[in-house]
């Protein structure tokens, strides 16, 4: 593809990078990334991928913008309250970079639409706030052979890893979701707003690394940090032979919609 003069200037800091260059920027411009959740994680991911010029960004979220979101979901502004999150995000992306095509899905990510949604994308971002959908993203991506970035934040802590085909998946590390209400969600336990940016930007960087083929992805490693101490830790991980989806005797062969915590369902009802 031939970049316009404006694009050459816009993406000059990528073109200057030895590992990215013109060829890498072309890969970014041809890239398609699906962001599941337009919240704390999805907001910085969407901003950075849009700024980078990712050709197609899909965003799925069933919620509308609430006042309590604005402390960390930086793609939504005060005037957006009541608007669907996908529309709010789409409007900001259009202002930031008109090169980007945005597919907005005002919906929940479920076993019924998961495969259809991920089908056309190169890389998937887990920007969700609950275990059932985190497992669903993992299962759909593992079964479809799609790469994804897992991300989770709570209070002052964040964790992330990247899955590509044949490497460690979420179920290798965490067999199945905890019982509903066993682990508090952000809406119950709180979260320091800025850590959404810390983790989301790591996910965005992983997506850009995947698209360009630069560096080593966060595969077979689990990165976690605590913002109180600002300690970052990377633990090497291995595929589990007993993993229920990618192990030797898989028991998970179709997609499952696990039960959500009561307050999550309530918040979806309140917001939609």
């Amino acid at each position: 593809m031939e970049f316009t003069e404006e694009q050459i200037v816009r993406y000059s800091r990528h073109i200057l990078l030895k590992d990215v260059g013109v060829e890498g920027q072309e890969k970014i411009s041809n890239g398609k990334v699906l962001i599941v959740g337009a919240g704390g994680l999805g907001a910085p991911v969407a901003f950075y991928l849009a700024a980078a010029g990712v050709g197609t960004i899909g965003i799925i979220d069933g919620d509308t913008v609430d006042l309590s979101n604005l402390q960390r979901q930086i793609i939504h502004f005060t005037a957006d309250m009541g608007k669907t999150k996908v529309l709010s995000a789409k409007e900001k992306i259009a202002q930031l970079n008109p090169d980007v095509k945005v597919n907005a899905y005002q919906d929940l990510f479920t076993s019924a639409n998961a495969f259809e949604l991920i089908k056309d994308y190169d890389f998937i971002i887990d920007g969700t706030d609950n275990f059932p959908v985190k497992f669903l993203i993992n299962d759909a991506c593992v079964l479809a052979g799609k790469p994804f970035s897992h991300g989770g934040i709570l209070r002052f802590d964040g964790q992330t890893f990247t899955h590509t085909q044949g490497n460690v998946c979420y179920r290798c590390l965490f067999n199945s979701p905890p019982p509903p209400n066993a682990v508090p969600t952000c809406s119950q336990a709180g979260v320091l707003g800025a850590i959404a940016g810390m983790l989301g930007t790591i996910q965005a960087a992983e997506a850009l690394k995947y698209l360009t083929g630069v560096g080593e992805l966060l595969t077979n490693r689990l990165l976690s940090f605590n913002a109180k101490t600002m300690d970052f830790r990377t633990v090497h991980t291995r595929r589990s032979p007993r993993c229920p989806i990618c192990g030797e005797h898989p028991t998970v062969t179709t997609l499952i919609d696990y039960e959500q915590a009561a307050c999550d369902i309530l918040s979806h009802k309140n917001n939609s």
């Binding site: 000059s12 030895k18 260059g21």
Partner: protein, 75 residues
């Protein structure tokens, strides 16, 4: 192996090397790009960046016009 020309005398940092990289990206390995640039920042940075990024700077010479240099870069 072919030879190409690029004039970046009107560009400023960092667009000087950005434009150079864009031209180099279009060339085949072994091709040569003659870059016309100004003394000062472009003359200091473009050959250095080209070398750092794995290209070969074959020569640097002042042209007939004072303050304008030709840098011969091989892909």
């Amino acid at each position: 192996m072919a030879t190409f020309n690029l004039d970046i005398t009107k560009e400023h940092c960092p667009m000087t090397f950005v434009k150079t990289k864009i031209e180099l990206a279009k060339l085949q390995k072994g091709d040569i790009l003659n870059v016309s640039l100004s003394a000062g920042e472009p003359l200091e940075n473009v050959p250095r960046s080209a070398t750092e990024q794995g290209f070969t700077v074959l020569s640097v010479a002042e042209t007939g016009t004072k303050g304008i240099f030709n840098v011969e870069i091989q892909k």
